[in-house]
């Protein structure tokens, strides 16, 4: 039996335009699936722990990163970076135990761990008799 990957990305699928209209920059993400959980990594350069918000509403997860851009007192000469704040939304499958999410940010990379509920984790069943 294969487990169907079940973290959907609403923003990338249908809603990039709307995320942009609302004035956000969509961060790049990697998602991997392990035996026990999904692990989501999002690139949010310039965002510290203080500027980070991980919001969960029902089965919808939103990651928001606010950052200070520019250099105080200096004029931009050449600029490639997008000055907008980061935001991306995901729809979580019911197999994810939303009460057990955890998040850390290190050098501009946010890691969110989305554990699976006990009943969908693979289990070894002892054969007796």
């Amino acid at each position: 039996m294969t487990t169907i990957p079940n973290v959907e990305n609403r923003v990338a699928r249908t809603d990039n335009a709307s995320a942009n209209e609302r004035g956000y920059f969509v961060p790049k993400v990697n998602i991997v699936e392990t035996k026990d959980s999904f692990i989501l990594e999002a690139e949010m350069p310039g965002v510290s722990k203080e500027g980070l918000e991980v919001l969960l509403e029902g089965n919808e997860l939103a990651i928001v990163g606010r950052r200070q851009t520019g250099v105080p007192g200096a004029e931009p000469v050449y600029r490639e970076s997008n000055p907008r704040d980061f935001r991306r939304e995901f729809v979580l499958d019911p197999s994810i135990d939303t009460s057990k999410l955890s998040a850390t940010i290190e050098q501009g990379v946010l890691t969110v761990t989305l554990p699976k509920t006990e009943k969908v984790k693979p289990r070894k069943i002892q054969v007796t008799g």
Binding site: N9, N16, K28, E33, I39, E75, Y78, E80, Q107
Partner: protein
């Protein structure tokens, strides 16, 4: 593992005004500098390239590069002949052997960017910091390239 992808242009929607000024700046840049955006685009075929910003104040040129998820020791910085080079390698960390990739948008592998500095700098006094995935390089300008105020005596 080395993952090479093109930047997704869809993610960059700028307002028309911004786009116009960006376009104008880009044309200016392509005309007066062999480096900059053109080099960056070309480098995308060989790997990935971090986003660079250049700022200037009275005393310094300040370069900021977006390099999320690296270690300090993986970043090399050099100033030579009026150009700043930032290079290094972002290694793909296999944190969990049994992990199956489901979505892979991040770039890994080597990168190399060169930027022509618009003013002469004192390269021996350059300082770099790496915080929240942003590399900041402060390059003090040479005395000759600093703006000078000339006192005019009105009699």
């Amino acid at each position: 593992m080395k993952l090479i992808r093109r930047q997704n242009a869809d993610l960059w929607t700028w307002s028309p005004v911004e786009q116009l000024s960006t376009l104008r700046e880009e044309i200016n840049r392509l005309c007066d500098s062999p480096f900059g955006e053109l080099t960056r685009r070309m480098e995308l075929f060989n790997g990935w390239a971090p986003t660079l910003d250049l700022y200037e104040d009275k005393d310094n040129l300040v370069v900021k590069a977006e390099l999320p998820g690296m270690k300090r020791e993986e970043i090399d910085i050099s100033v030579h002949d009026g150009t700043l080079t930032i290079s290094g390698e972002r290694k793909y960390e296999e944190k969990n052997q049994e992990a199956e990739p489901y979505r892979s948008e991040r770039f890994f592998g080597r990168f190399h960017r060169t930027l022509a500095l618009p003013k002469p700098v004192q390269s021996d006094k350059a300082k770099a910091t790496y915080k929240d995935g942003i590399l900041t390089v402060v390059l003090p300008k040479t005395e000759e390239s600093k703006p000078k105020q000339i006192q005019v005596n009105v009699s």
